[in-house]
Subunit: 330 residues, 5 copies
């Protein structure tokens, strides 16, 4: 599906072509650049832009197939980006990963989305409100998309951090489910690392390109503003990878701590159980003694022998209870 | 055994020589390149190609001996590749590793296979259907073989991933066999890493060669299409190493989690066992009390003394059962 | 809030302007450099300096937003520093992190503080007492601030080291709370690493700048004294990262050791409990024997049968006690 | 002891001098190169070659002292190699490390052996059978020695691999000695890593030397055959380090798995023991009940009361046995 | 305190000045170089040399303050070294760290010692006995000091190795104190790593300096002998770091192994305790049976009923004992 399809000249939307063919004509007539948004495109749609913009065949295949790792690949006529945006699903306390592919050329940016998020329409609206920036061409649009994707990692990181806080509470409150939750969260954190880490290299490579003197892809030479913008995204990515890496460490520590707490728990329970066993057992000893069949056992003939024995049982039990209570075993 | 043996000129199969000697003659007459497929070759067969194409002696020894690590070695007259293809055996839930050796020269590609897989015949048929690509010479044939080997890792990765999912289920369902399975799967994952990781360097080295200006091995200068093709294989290898590395981490976590779950299990069982011990023991206490030999024990003379004692035993047992049930120990 | 606001010429405070506008005028008139200290500035205050000194917009946004990772970012007109000073709160045995942002230009240093510490007023007073150093311009003031921030890490490191010593005592004294404390301290040590580690790169980058021949930011060429000063800070940072990294290792070891100690503890308790169980149980055996109803049991008819049985019980119990004591189980 | 001592000209043994002095004379007369094999040399013997060939004093000291780490050190007049060959002692299932030192010059190779293995005599005989290779001078002899040392690691690696297989069997068969064996084998694997790992750098450095254009140590310029030979050794070393590194990982995993298996074992034993305790205890409960002294207990007066009670005991015991058997506790 | 204070010309001690001022005069008169040994110097003493030799102020502060990490810092007029020598205290089985600071200039070497060891007086005597080496100037003296410090690590490494051997014995003999000892030894090993590791970089940096062509600090160009000497020290440092790194690994393994052994121990004890519980309990069952009050129990009326019951008890106990002994539980 073609979600949006416009040609921008000097940062302003100059045409809302009704079909891709019209877009290509307008673009050739007025120059400027085309920004085309596709959502789960049909092979035909992808084929049309591929032919018009001479997109690299292998990258187009990747975009159709999906399940790409986050990466940037430079081809002769275009640069291909695969991004793995993420969303935190509050209800399920789970991270969901999407997939966005971008083709960047001298006069076009084509986005291929496979999931609802991220909201690239909003990105476009924000850019259209800033014609000065948009006038810098497809690289500015690329920045806007990258910025959006990276910004959307922030709530994911916050959600995972919140999960870790909850896990810590569960950990020290003896919740048995916590080992499963730690295991599953580490799995998600690893997936998040796989999504975010490659962006560090992607953004460093973009920065190096922008620092290079004038060339085909940026004929006006390095643009300071754009370079700072990309650096800002780079900085956000670094902040996120920092956090995510520390999450992994924390979860590892939580796992080890949990093992120890479980053992400690067992120690405490063994003490408690043994205490109660002793408290229950002492009366039995008394009962066994007065169950002996000796002919000459004075207590047996006392009128108050039975209450005496029962009292002895209770007294011993209570004494043991007090002893264990004092030792902290109960 | 010589599986297939053909000379290609301008991407088309021009001769089906009946013997190696004929191949060598045809090759000298018509130029083009020879693509020879050997399967567990006799020393004589290997000797013939070694003499004709001046293959490096040490590499030929390696190819005869087998059990090579995945690698690429450049010699003066040829480049030697050792690949470790893999198959996932569904029945045994096991990864099986094969071995393929390749000799690449200016006008030949010789493959030496030691196992059934991979199906190099299919690779050849696919290439013969694309003469434009095959016309690029032995490097194109090399690409086709590498692509096949790397593509065949995908089902292996899927199989291992499925094993890990099963292991996770076993883990949280308390299956005792899981530690053995984790241990054995990590061993396979390590073998898979040893097979796949060296390919990253091999493909980077090939890419660097292809980026270099015109030279003896590619006299026409860098070929963009071929370079992109090799990069595509490189990308697949990276995707696979990413996955395999994360498998290792996951299995490590599973091992640690399992240790904790086993301890937690023990805690629960100790509670359960102690509860039943207490439930069994309380009646004994009652019995011991009424087994005492005091002269003056009113209950002993009651007509309903015995049923009363039995009722007391059951009541106490039931009371304890309820208490433990409520505390979640049973 | 504008905490302090002065213009320095040749290392001496030449003006105490009442408003930022006055500062800017004075600066233009007398040259020298402005050192402006802001504490949780209003957007208007930050706006004024941003316009006057042409501060980079993205960095100003970061400074307003806070929660930056420690870093240095060079922009065309200014260099932005984000620092994470730390304090050790003795009462709570906790590390508290602050945040300081700096903008360094050819003729200004602007500090933006978000927390009480560090005491930058003190830094300024110390520098005003050393006009020779201050005459070297904003870089000297930057050095003074960095030096203060790094020096303030020393008591934090000492505090954490003290915590680790306490943890070791708790560890070998069997304090149950120690696993929680280890876990929480590792979390703080990780936060400390995140605050301190980036400074290594920041200071190496500054050193490289200072080693470079004369240029716009230091027109007089490399200043040996300043370079040595920055190297001194660098050395302190390295000393701190060394210590902090080793803390992490120590805590990891403490966690593993604790797990073993808990198991060892359990072994000892099981031995102790079993010993007492045996001591309690042996008299029961004696009692059970003399509770048998055999017609011909000589002891039952002895006058001293009952004391004999009781003596036997005590003797057996005492014998077992001695045995277990000797084996070190009690 | 001087084990062998010969001068080679154009790859042929031309003299069997009776003393070192004669060797030196022959060498000066006929050129070629000397290959001298020493076994635990006396300081005098070492002194003679040191003076004649101007060996570096510090390296000679190292060779006398022994206990060197594997390394290569270039001095002005000679290059010093310390190698750590290894043997697998089948009887003791232990790896034994030897030590060989080599001095390589333009016209000599001196080997100093401190242990029986490796068999350098055999290396010499093999080389003397290949005069073409030996004619390439001392570097060819060096290659032969390195090749022998590296080849002798293969049975060691196989032996350790076999140990690991045995350990895995012990592991899953519950052999208690396995933790000691794992610990000791990891110690040996670490020693093996220390012996083999430095060879990677040594061989890379040799390869770089051989790739360099003509120079004093190889006046004829790079020799392709020799370079391929050294690369072959390099490849073997890489294969061995790969295996040895994976051994370490495997043993680490075995250690962790073992800890879990021990806990799991405990769980199973606790269940078994508790089951038997319950089976033994139930008859006691029955016995206690019929030991009560109630006046009105009908069963006590039954003629078959006693067999009934015994039957009840057996029946309950058997019922419990069946229940536990079904639950898999027994 | 000024321990020694001499001026050397052409490798010979030419003056024993009575005060620092005299030293400075002699040095100016006769050239050569000054070698001054300070032990816990007063600020005044340090001040005198600082002024005379123009020592870098920040390094002098470090030398006064102590607690420096091992490092080398080049200043304009001098190079500053901080070393952390170590001693193994046999009595306490503990490693003690000292601190030595060195200032190296074109015509001086000043050592500042803060602890008894290392014995720098002995270093000086050894150097004075080798005027040829000493004639090479302050660098030769620096070599001698470094050599001494590094040589003194050898007994420390041996001591720690011995501790590890003892720990291994304790480990497999079930000594409970071993976890504390492992923990504390790892702490020392980490401190040793911090002392030794930086020397690798220091010596590599010195080597690079010595390889450089003639310059101010070594006007005669690279000196081969000195370079080999420093390389020898470098090699020793590498040998030590290798050992120390492997100690850390070994202790880590020992910690993990210990945890498993403790669990295994528990398994064995639980089996032993349960066996004895069963042996004790069976007679109780017999006693309980014959304590039942059935009217018709033939055994009760046997004359030998009582001995029969006692015999039954013993027989059952002995039978169980034999069974458990055979299963290896006792």
């Amino acid at each position: 599906m073609i979600v949006d399809n416009a040609v921008y000249v000097a940062g302003r939307r100059t045409a809302d072509p009704e079909s891709l063919d019209e877009t290509f004509e307008v673009l050739r007539a007025r120059h400027g650049f085309a920004w085309i948004g596709l959502y789960r495109p049909t092979p035909e749609e992808l084929d049309a832009v591929t032919r018009e913009f001479d997109l690299p065949a292998l990258a187009v295949e990747d975009a159709l197939a999906g399940h790409q790792r986050a990466k940037m690949e430079k081809y002769g006529t275009a640069t291909f980006f695969a991004l793995r945006p993420a969303r935190y699903l509050d209800a399920e306390e789970r991270v969901e990963f999407g997939e966005v592919h971008l083709f960047l050329g001298d006069d076009f940016l084509i986005s291929v989305r496979h999931a609802e998020s991220p909201d690239l329409g909003q990105v476009r609206r924000r850019m259209e409100a800033d014609p000065a920036l948009l006038a810098k061409g497809p690289l500015a649009a690329l920045y806007a998309v990258l910025d959006q994707v990276v910004d959307e990692y922030a709530p994911v990181v916050a959600g995972v951090e919140n999960d870790i806080d909850e896990i810590e509470d569960q950990l020290f409150n003896g919740d048995q489910e916590v080992s499963r939750r730690i295991y599953e969260l580490s799995r998600e954190v690893m997936a998040l690392q796989r999504a975010v880490h490659p962006l560090v290299d992607v953004l460093e490579s973009l920065r190096d390109d922008l620092d290079r003197p004038a060339g085909p892809q940026h004929p006006a030479g390095p643009d300071e503003e754009l370079r700072d913008d990309f650096r800002d995204v780079h900085d956000h990515v670094l902040r996120i990878t920092d956090r995510v890496d520390s999450f992994r460490q924390l979860l590892q520590n939580a796992l080890t701590t949990h093992a120890t707490l479980v053992s400690q728990d067992q120690n405490n329970e063994i003490k408690k159980i043994s205490s109660w066993a002793a408290i229950l057992f002492t009366p039995t000893l008394v009962g066994t003694i007065y169950g002996m069949n000796f002919e000459y056992m004075p207590e047996l003939h006392w009128v108050l022998g039975y209450p005496f024995a029962m009292g002895l049982m209770l007294a011993l039990g209570f004494a043991l209870y007090t002893v264990f209570k004092r030792k902290g075993w109960l």
